[in-house]
Amino acid sequence: MKRTLVIAELDHGVLKPCTHAAVAAARRAAELAGGTFEILLLGPGAGTASGALLNFGAAALHVAEHPELAEPLADRYAVAVAHVARGRGTDFLIAAASTFSKDLLPRVAGLLDAGMLSDVVEIGADSSGPLFKRVLHAGNAIATVILEGPVRVATLRAAAFPPAPRLESTAPVLAVDLSGLAWPDGTSFVARDRKTSARPDATEARIVVSGGRGIKTSEDFERLVGGLADALGGAVGSSRALVDAGITANSLQIGQTGKVVAPDLYIAVGISGAIQHIAGMKDTKVIVAINKDPDAPIFEVADLGLVADVYQAVPEMIERLQRR
């Protein structure tokens, strides 16, 4: 981990906040190994986005803009990342865990014949070298793992790495020379159906209100879960049951196979508390559960529980919160 490379994540040219977690982790890795770290930004708007990362201690910012990188296709992005990693002598490649990095980083690991750990929550070291902690079995176990080989790859849970403070020094911004790369053309971008929402993303919000099968329709979800989230200035999430029922978009799913969040406050509205759901929210500071079944497992992890019908309790909550 003497030469760490952070893969920044952009959303249409705008830096995603989770990148700051990866930068904090890189700083930690560099400290432990007595090394340095650099940041790679790929795709349209990478140059402009690099402005937000100038003062966080990176030895350099690498900007890769190319017509072939117009959309975040893993096949092409992986070729560019591996090219930079080889050229820079990178021995540790990291990014915040998201569908973008989960698609991309293992492919890069395959190209570089590197071992990889997903969802790392702690980076440490003992006399023999770096040690990592990661979560597995739907959050039921935390493993301490050694990662061997000349190059290591990891994705990290953003919530486990609070953003590092700004520094005085400014990193140089360098353009990556991508000429002469052979670009794969087996995949092509067709469309993206973007859910535009005024609400923040659940992974980036301090408050998340999440709905489960206790909610019967999309209108009810919007009115109750959306309404409560708006009253609190928070984001919305959902259990898989609602995604399966077509009531919420898949991008709202919290859990083992959806998003993992760790906000200050998580309000579970009509969610039973299956282990796969708990896996995605149990590092929340304060968990609130509203469920009509007093024996629902969600109450085992909730700090504050209310046994009630959400159709009665939630409108009253919204009303009281708005009354202030």
Binding site: A74, A78, S98, T99, K102, D103, L105, P106, R107, A109, G110, A114, G115, M116, L117, H137, A138, G139, N140, A141, I142, A143, V145, I146, L147, E148, P184, G186, S188, F189, V190, A191, R192, D193, R194, K195, D201, N250, S251, Q256, T257, K259, D264, L265, Q276, I287, V288, F299, E300, V301, A302, D303, L304, G305, L306, V307, A313, M317, R320, L321
Partner: protein, 251 residues
């Protein structure tokens, strides 16, 4: 058309996983093992493709020990044409799995490799992507919709991303990983399982494929996550809102 479906034996998603007191692993006594749910979905999709296209061969493969044969039999009972065990000693990391699968892909030349997006034991979400990188094959991960194009040589995939559904065109041969909403795997009947018991299981070793099973990750120990302390039950919404206002730091 030949479709390769790598499947893994994992603790059933309904069992409660506990870490052994000495941290050497998870308690497996009394734990039911199943086909990884995402792999059942991948296999189901392969079977549906075969049903739609007519001529296709579905090959289910698992890397593991003797006990994994049970999941291969489930695969046969679901309808796989062939089942292959690559016998491997001890646990493998994703890189080792991908390396062995890459050698198998070179040997079998499938048109499509359909995997689960994630094994629910290690929760790595890596093998498909690593395999795609190693072989330089086009990749589509977290796929919840898969449509063959009229030319039969490419597919259109709907992928579940943090931002919403993304649609990609993918040329075959390719590596595709299945998400939960791709389909609902068929029910396996008891007679189907009995019949599958009589079918042959092919067997190979990593050595026979010309690769080693060496892993680059080594788990030193497991620990149980810190439990949450018992919370309080409130009686009214009024009380809850009051607690939120001070306890959770809301204004």
């Amino acid at each position: 058309m030949k479709i390769l479906v790598p499947i893994k034996r994992v603790p059933d998603s309904d069992t409660r996983i506990r870490v052994k007191p000495d941290g050497s692993g998870i308690v497996t006594d009394g734990v039911k093992f199943s086909l990884n749910p995402f792999d059942a979905i991948a296999l189901e999709e392969a079977l549906r493709i075969r049903e739609r296209l007519g001529a296709a061969e579905v090959l289910a493969v698992t890397l593991g020990g003797e006990d994994s044969i049970e999941q291969l039999r489930t695969g046969l009972a679901m309808g796989a044409d062939r089942a292959l065990l690559v016998r491997t000693p001890g646990p493998l990391d994703s890189l080792a799995v991908a390396r062995i699968l890459a050698a198998l892909v070179r040997k079998e030349s499938p048109d499509l490799v359909l995997l689960g997006k994630q094994a629910i034991d290690d929760d790595s979400n890596q093998v498909g992507q690593m395999l795609g990188g190693m072989l330089g094959l086009p990749q589509a991960t977290f796929v919840s919709k898969l449509e063959f194009q009229p030319d039969g040589r490419s597919v259109r995939c709907g992928r579940e991303t943090d931002a919403g559904i993304e649609t990609l065109g993918v040329r075959l041969p390719a590596v595709i990983t299945a998400d939960l909403r791709l389909n609902e795997p068929r029910y396996v009947s008891l007679p189907g399982i009995m019949k599958a018991k009589k079918r042959p299981i092919e067997e190979l070793s990593p050595e026979a494929l010309g690769v080693t099973a060496a892993s680059r990750t080594r788990v030193l120990r497991l620990e149980a996550p810190a439990g949450r302390k018992a919370g309080v039950r409130l009686r009214t919404v009024e009380e809850l809102v009051a607690r939120l206002r001070d306890g959770a730091g809301l204004t």
